[in-house]
C-alpha cells in the first residue's frame, strides 16, 4: 500500500450522528461515501467493487448510499451538489445530464490521473467540460434498439429486419399468429422514449449535422422529416394494434419478462436490459436477441449507442486522494472483471484491457457487430447536444398511446426543448 496511513472509522455510519459525510475529516479516517441509484444492478456492482476494494485496503470504509433513479434522482444529485452535501464519489449520467450539473464548479477533474490513459476518447468527450475530464465509466457502452424473442422468430420463420417496413411486416405476422408484436411499458414513462431516442442513428444518416443545428436552435424535430420519423414509428405501432393489452400500466420489469418469456416478440430498450433479464429471468437469457432500430434504408442500418454512466468525484470531498484511488480502481480492467462477475457482461467496455467473457448472452453478441469493423453506430442525441427536453417521456407516452399525433408530439417536444435551451443560456434561443 502506497497510500497515506489510513484508519477506519468502522461503524461511524451506524451511530447515525454524522450529518453529512464531508462534515467528518475523512482524510485521516479513510472514509468514503458512494452515492448510486437504486437499480439492483447498480447496487450489486457497487457492493462488489466496495467489497473488493476494502478487501485490498482493510483500513478503508466505504458507505454506499442509494438514491431513487429517474428524474427524482436527478433532482437529488443536483440539490446535494448545490448545497455541498454530495457524497465523495457518485454515479450519474454522462452527456447532457452531466453538463447540467455544472461540472466545472462541482466536480474534481481527473484528466491527468493514470487510469484515464486507458479510457476511450469517445467516452471522455461526454464527461468533459471546460477542457477537463471528470468521469470514469461505471458500465459498458449500451445500444438502444429492439430486443426480440428468438423462439417466436424461429417459430414464425422471421428474419431480422433491416428496414422499418420489414419490421412492421414481421409485426404483422406475429400479430396474425395471435401474439403480442410490440411490448410497451408506459407504467414507467422513461421506457416510452426508446422509439424516438433509438431512431437517432437513422436521423444522423439523413441529416448528419442535425445535432449541431439542433443545439443552435436551427433544426427542429417537427420540421425535420427524419426526426419526426421516430414519433411516427411510435404512433404506427400503436395504431397497428401491435401493443400488449396492458401497455399503459406495464412496467419495465414486465417488459423484460415478457420479451424473455415470449409473451411478446419485440421490446424497444437499451441493452442494459440484458442485465435485468439475467437477474430476473435467467432461464430465458438465451431466448433474447437484439437488433438496431431499423431505418428506411437497409444499406445504412446501424445502432444508436449510449455512452455508459459515469462515476464522479465531488469537489467537496474531504478525501480526494482516496476518492481518486477508488475511482481508478473502478476504471481498471480489474473493475471490469468484478463487474462481469457480479452482473454479467452487457456490452463493450470503454476501458482498454477490459475483456468480455467468451460466453456472452446472445443479445450482447448481437450488439457487438455494430461496434466492430464494418458495423455502423452513432451516438445518441444526448451525447451530441446538451439539450434534452424534460417532458419527452410524457410526450412519447401520449403519442405512443394515441392521445396525440406524431407531428403534434414533435412540435410539443420542440417547445419543451426551447425551454431547456433557454434555461441553459444557449445562444440562438
Amino acid at each position: 500500500m502506497t497510500k497515506t496511513k489510513l484508519f477506519a472509522l468502522t461503524g461511524a455510519s451506524l451511530l447515525g450522528l454524522m450529518m453529512t459525510a464531508n462534515a467528518v475529516n475523512a482524510q485521516q479516517s479513510g472514509y468514503l461515501s458512494f452515492l448510486i441509484d437504486n437499480g439492483p444492478q447498480s447496487v450489486a456492482v457497487a457492493e462488489a467493487w466496495v467489497a473488493a476494494y476494502t478487501a485490498k485496503n482493510p483500513d478503508v470504509t466505504i458507505d454506499i448510499e442509494v438514491r431513487p433513479g429517474g428524474g427524482e434522482g436527478d433532482n437529488i444529485v443536483k440539490t446535494r451538489l448545490a448545497t455541498g452535501a454530495m457524497a465523495d464519489v457518485f454515479f450519474y449520467n454522462s452527456g447532457s445530464l452531466f453538463q447540467a450539473i455544472n461540472p466545472v464548479q462541482n466536480l474534481l477533474p481527473v484528466t491527468n490521473e493514470p487510469w484515464q490513459a486507458g479510457i476511450q476518447d469517445s467516452f471522455k468527450s461526454v464527461v468533459s467540460a471546460g477542457g477537463e475530464v471528470y468521469g470514469t465509466p461505471f458500465a459498458p457502452a449500451m445500444g438502444g434498439g429492439i430486443f426480440y424473442n428468438k423462439p417466436i422468430y424461429e417459430e414464425l420463420g422471421l428474419e431480422i429486419p433491416k428496414t422499418w417496413d420489414e419490421f412492421m411486416a414481421n409485426n404483422e405476422k406475429i400479430k396474425a399468429a395471435g401474439k403480442t408484436a410490440v411490448i410497451q411499458t408506459y407504467g414507467e414513462t422513461w421506457t416510452s422514449q426508446l422509439f424516438v431516442l433509438a431512431d437517432f442513428y437513422n436521423v444522423l444518416t439523413e441529416v448528419p449535422d442535425f445535432a449541431e443545428k439542433f443545439t443552435a436552435g436551427e433544426a427542429k424535430f417537427a420540421t425535420t422529416p427524419a426526426a419526426v420519423r421516430g414519433f411516427e414509428k411510435l404512433q404506427e405501432v400503436y395504431e397497428a394494434g401491435f401493443l400488449n393489452a396492458d401497455f399503459g400500466a406495464a412496467t419495465y420489469p414486465d417488459g423484460i419478462r415478457m420479451v424473455a418469456t415470449g409473451e411478446g416478440a419485440h421490446y424497444p430498450m437499451l441493452t442494459f436490459g440484458i442485465g435485468a433479464i439475467a437477474e430476473t429471468v435467467p432461464d430465458h437469457l438465451q431466448d433474447v436477441g437484439f437488433f438496431a432500430q431499423p431505418g428506411d434504408d437497409a444499406a445504412t442500418n446501424g445502432l444508436t449507442t449510449w455512452m455508459p454512466d459515469s462515476v464522479y468525484i465531488a469537489k467537496t470531498t474531504a478525501a480526494p486522494d482516496l476518492a481518486k484511488d477508488f475511482v481508478g480502481f473502478i476504471g481498471s480492467p480489474e473493475g471490469c472483471d468484478i463487474r462481469n462477475e457480479a452482473v454479467g457482461a452487457t456490452g463493450p467496455y470503454m476501458i482498454a484491457g477490459c475483456e468480455l467473457p467468451a460466453d456472452v448472452p446472445p443479445a450482447v453478441a448481437d450488439m457487438l457487430p455494430y461496434f466492430q469493423e464494418g458495423g455502423h453506430n452513432g451516438p445518441a442525441l444526448e451525447f451530441l447536444s446538451p439539450i434534452k427536453g424534460p417532458a419527452l417521456e410524457q410526450i412519447t407516452v401520449e403519442v405512443g398511446s394515441g392521445i396525440r399525433q406524431a407531428a403534434d408530439g414533435a412540435a410539443l417536444y420542440d417547445e419543451d426543448v426551447r425551454k431547456q435551451a433557454q434555461q441553459l443560456g444557449l445562444a440562438g434561443w
Binding site: 450529518m19 442509494v66 448545490a82 452535501a85 419495465y252
Partner: protein, 276 residues
C-alpha cells in the same frame, strides 16, 4: 320488530360494504407481505404459497445495511420531537391569540391561513437551510415539520381556547400564577382533547411524510421510513413482496397511536375543529 330488522340488514350491508372497500385492500397488503417474490409479482388476491412473512421482514429490515432500523429511529425522533414542539408552540400562540385582542390579531390570522394555503417554496428553503447549517440534519427536519404544521395546530387550539372561560386564567392570577404558570398548569392540561387530535393528526402526518425528508434530509444515515419504500420500487424492478411488507411494517406505529387515542379522537374534534 320491523325496525330492528331493517337496522340489522342495514348494519350487515354497512359491514359488508366497508369490508370490500376498506378491508380488502389491507388484506391484499397483508397477503402480499406473506408471499415470495415470484408469487407477489403476479399481484393477484391469492392465498400465499407458503409462509414468507418472516423472511420478507428480515429482508426488508436488513436491506441497505439495516437502513430500516436507522429509518425507524429517525422517523420516531422527528415525529416525537416535532409533535411535542408543535403542541407547545401552537397552544401558546392559540392561547394569546384567543385571549388578547390587539391590532395584530388580523395579521397573525392572515399569516396562519397563508400557512395553510401556500405550498412551501422548496428550493429557497433548501438554500436557506444550507445557510443555517441545518440542511440534512434532523434538527432542521424537525423545525421544518414544526413550521409547516403550525397553522393547522394553532387553528385547532385557538378555537378550543376560546371555549375555556377566561375566569380560570384570572382565578389563577389571583392565586398568584405568572403567565407561564397559567399556561402550563391551567390551560395546557385543559387542552388535552385537542392535544389528542393534534397528536394523532400531526404524528401520523409527519411520520408518513415523504416529500419533505426527500428534499431536506438527504443521506443514508438520515433515512426516514417513507424513503425506505424506494428500496424495493426501483427504476428497474420491483420486489412486490418486500414493498408490501415494508408498507405493512411502517403502518404499525401510526396504528399504535390510533389504538391509544381511538376513543378520544372524536372528543378532540368536537372540541377543536367544529367550533372553529
Amino acid at each position: 320488530m320491523k325496525k330492528s330488522r331493517a337496522s340489522i340488514i342495514g348494519g350487515i350491508a354497512a359491514i359488508a360494504a366497508t369490508f370490500v372497500v376498506f378491508v380488502i385492500p389491507f388484506l391484499f397488503i397483508i397477503l402480499m407481505a406473506f408471499k415470495d417474490k415470484q408469487q407477489s409479482a403476479l399481484r393477484d388476491f391469492s392465498w400465499p404459497n407458503g409462509f414468507h412473512l418472516f423472511e420478507n421482514l428480515y429482508e426488508v429490515i436488513k436491506t441497505r445495511n439495516w437502513m430500516m432500523i436507522t429509518a425507524f429511529i429517525n422517523s420516531s425522533l422527528i415525529t416525537v420531537v416535532s409533535v411535542t414542539l408543535l403542541i407547545v408552540l401552537a397552544a401558546m400562540v392559540g392561547f394569546v391569540l384567543a385571549r388578547r385582542k390587539t391590532k395584530w390579531n388580523g395579521t397573525i390570522e392572515f399569516l396562519i391561513l397563508a400557512g395553510l394555503m401556500i405550498p412551501p417554496a422548496v428550493v429557497p428553503t433548501i438554500w436557506l437551510l444550507q445557510g443555517l447549517k441545518l440542511f440534512g440534519t434532523l434538527h432542521g427536519m424537525i423545525l421544518i415539520q414544526v413550521a409547516y404544521n403550525l397553522p393547522f395546530s394553532i387553528i385547532l387550539y385557538r378555537a378550543f381556547i376560546a371555549t375555556i372561560p377566561r375566569e380560570l386564567d384570572e382565578a389563577a392570577v389571583i392565586d398568584g400564577a405568572r403567565p407561564l404558570d397559567v399556561f402550563f398548569r391551567i390551560i395546557l392540561p385543559l387542552l388535552w382533547p385537542v392535544t389528542v387530535t393534534n397528536i394523532v393528526v400531526q404524528s401520523v402526518g409527519i411520520f408518513n411524510d415523504f416529500t419533505n425528508p426527500l428534499y431536506y434530509l438527504p443521506g443514508n444515515q438520515n433515512a426516514t421510513v417513507q424513503l425506505t419504500l424506494y428500496n424495493f420500487q426501483s427504476q428497474f424492478s420491483t420486489a412486490y413482496n418486500l414493498l408490501f411488507t415494508n408498507i405493512l411494517l411502517i403502518t404499525i406505529p401510526p396504528l399504535i397511536v390510533f389504538m391509544f387515542f381511538n376513543r378520544q379522537i372524536v372528543a378532540g374534534m368536537t372540541a377543536g375543529a367544529v367550533k372553529g
